[in-house]
Symmetry: C2
Subunit: 420 residues, 2 copies
């Protein structure tokens, strides 16, 4: 078989280490030029494929590609764009295959979360149906850590480390000022449906006496009375209370706390996350002085404090995806299998996309303490290895020196345009 091209795209919310996966894909592909001539990256993810807007990664030096390993964000652009089912939008799939055919693309590497694994799976099925079979590989990526089968998801370890470090540091600040200033500090973190990120905040302390004193998980219905009782208890016992709240924290009826926002003087719905809502509950009922932080994108882009284990795994899933493809495996995703907690050992192995697509892994109840406000020893055993090691980017004049890519476009070959 003569060399074909590969298509690589990033999908959905980016992470601090998604480019490490790109690095793994491209560096490994470059070692097999006889089989993979070039890796075309989709500009803005799958949209790049639909609109025939490819980035020619062969135009980037080995040094630049190596630097992807330490670069946050999505080096080629990512997209929130979900292909619908074949019946719903046949034109999109036909277009994709037409473009792949025109550019001699025999390999499709899709770096994303649940939705993307579904897309990669569909493309593998449909490419065969349309007579141009493409080898389709999923590459896991999500800060939410909610993909099934794999022990954990690249991207999560770094956001977990960021949240644990930030919680520990902010807690030390609050503790030292508690006598005369802020009593309650709230840190809002991501995780709309699952509490993995919030749970990571729990690593900041080693016991229930240490911050964070309360974690609010999406998996545990918010109980205002129990919450307020615990806040009061903490302030009385420790002089302060640190709370990590998931953006997905919700009432028993499923309503997000964040949706229960107040209205301003003009009747406008007060914008904001869940942190100000929790703050207001504390203020209205207990009157304590509070502060809150909303980490938002800072948490998932904080490459400066990435977990070394996470970077290694992100690279490894990219590398293995290419190896699997070259072995003729298709419709699979490299997953991380944990071999032992202590010492932490893991390996990569393939798993069929059909087992992964559109499924969501929630934080197990046994990872949450009985009272619903903390993490258990089992959770610590699971989480701790994932934040291990520092993988600092290079710095120049006090700031991280992140890669700058040329991102040169591949000449379009089709006469037709496709509007997404």
């Amino acid at each position: 078989m003569s060399a074909m091209n590969a298509f690589y795209a990033q999908s959905g919310g980016v992470t601090a280490v998604i480019n490490a996966s790109a690095c793994g894909v491209i560096e490994t592909a470059r070692k097999h030029k006889s089989k993979i001539a070039n890796v075309y990256a989709g500009r803005n993810g799958i949209i790049g494929a639909l609109t025939e807007d490819f980035i020619d990664t062969n135009r980037e030096s080995a040094r630049t590609i190596a630097a992807l390993r330490t670069m946050p964000g999505g080096a080629f652009g990512s997209a929130r764009y979900k292909l619908r089912s074949f019946d719903e939008n046949r034109a999109e799939y036909e277009r994709l295959i037409e473009v792949f055919k025109a550019h001699n693309i025999g390999y499709f590497f899709y770096n994303g979360g649940n939705d993307s694994m579904d897309t990669a799976h569909k493309v593998s099925l449909i490419s065969k149906k349309l007579g141009f079979p493409v080898t389709c590989l999923g590459i896991p990526k999500t800060v939410d850590n909610d993909l099934p089968v794999t022990d954990n998801c690249p991207g999560f370890g770094s956001v977990a480390k960021y949240v644990a470090v930030s919680t520990r540091e902010a807690a030390m600040d609050v503790k030292s000022m508690a006598r005369t200033s802020t009593k309650v500090f709230i840190l809002e973190v991501m995780g709309r449906h699952t509490g993995w990120i919030a749970a990571a905040g729990g690593l900041a302390g080693r016991s229930s006496a240490e911050a964070p004193h309360i974690i609010l998980f999406p998996e545990i219905a918010f109980n205002k009375r129990a919450f307020l009782r615990r806040v009061k208890e903490c302030v009385e016992k420790y002089e302060y209370c640190v709370i990590v709240v998931s953006e997905g924290a919700a009432y028993r009826n499923g309503q997000f706390l964040a949706e229960a926002g107040t209205r301003d003087a003009f009747g406008h719905a007060q914008l904001g996350g869940v942190a100000p809502v929790v703050a207001q509950i504390v203020r209205d009922n207990l009157g304590y002085k509070y502060h809150y932080a909303i980490a938002d994108y800072l948490q998932r882009s904080a490459r400066h404090i990435a977990s070394a284990v996470d970077v290694q795994q992100a690279y490894a899933v990219g590398r293995e995806a290419v190896k699997y493809a070259l072995q003729g495996k298709t419709a699979v995703m490299p997953v991380i299998k944990r071999l032992s907690d202590s010492p932490y050992k893991w390996r990569i192995e393939p798993a069929p996309l059909s087992r992964i697509a559109n499924k969501e892994k929630k934080l197990p109840r046994r990872y949450i303490t009985k009272d619903g406000f903390g993490i258990t020893a089992a959770a610590r055993r699971y989480l701790e290895p994932l934040i291990r090691g520092e993988d600092y980017p290079p710095y120049f004049n006090g700031l991280p020196k992140y890669a700058t890519l040329k991102n040169v476009s591949v000449k379009p070959l089709l006469k037709t345009k496709f509007v997404v």
Copy 2:
């Protein structure tokens, strides 16, 4: 003169490097045991002196004291507690001197901002008046960088680095998703009255095409029309717009964009939540999808990304304060004098507290671009050296290993209690 004890207290909001100053004080004092027998640290700052609640730092090992250099927060507790004028509250000053006398305290080191320099100055005057002259030294500390005379304030360089790094990282995230997701990202930073911290966000980009595209300073009255025009321009030109907004951003009439209504012990309005206000202005007028982050305490406790220059200077002002005291200087503060921008050179010299107390250094207009939304080359020349170098704390199992102090109390000697 036989050895006397020293009193050291932290005051006001803590920083990532205030303990480095404590380290400088204690390590230097320990080298002069014949003059300074012990450094008593105030538990919760000046409150520890008023209530005769001292921490015996001689009980801490050399290793623990050395570890203060990498520990965020306030190791002995800080306080927002301002001594009033002598006429207003003579009892507080008399109590202070009574306690100092009882514990043979001849040196007072007060580590804080404007208000604290005023207190240190008053104590020096009053102690003489009351017949127990105490050598009073101010030690500068404030993330706000608003102390006069000194070129910059320890604490600022690290928050500046955090804000610049975070802005750069978040901007890369937003840029890579802009095609189908968030167009406008807002980062809210501290700086009640001065835009120094917001200005530091400007270091994230090297030109007006790079993020942050807009900085909202307290020094520049908020002009909604010009702001919206610039946001639109950026989104049309770059596909996205990153905004750094100071908590102190205000309208022409002086009203803060966000006012929480409550006031702290110093009578300052407690701010918070300008980011959602700016987001709402964007949404209501331009309809762009937005996200915002509120760094809050994370920015001033982020020891994991402290500036090496800042750590060095924080240590140096502590060390020099002790040296000045031993030279018989009183009512002075070590200030940082910049000798050159490039290469960056500085030295420490003494300045009288009377020149520093209760004065505020605003961001000069020449540091802000003509349009009011960015920083000038002069600002870059000033700011850049302050964030240079990384001074990483040690890590254990993925988390910074911060010092744990014994904080053993000194036995009270007075029979009277004092309620603050």
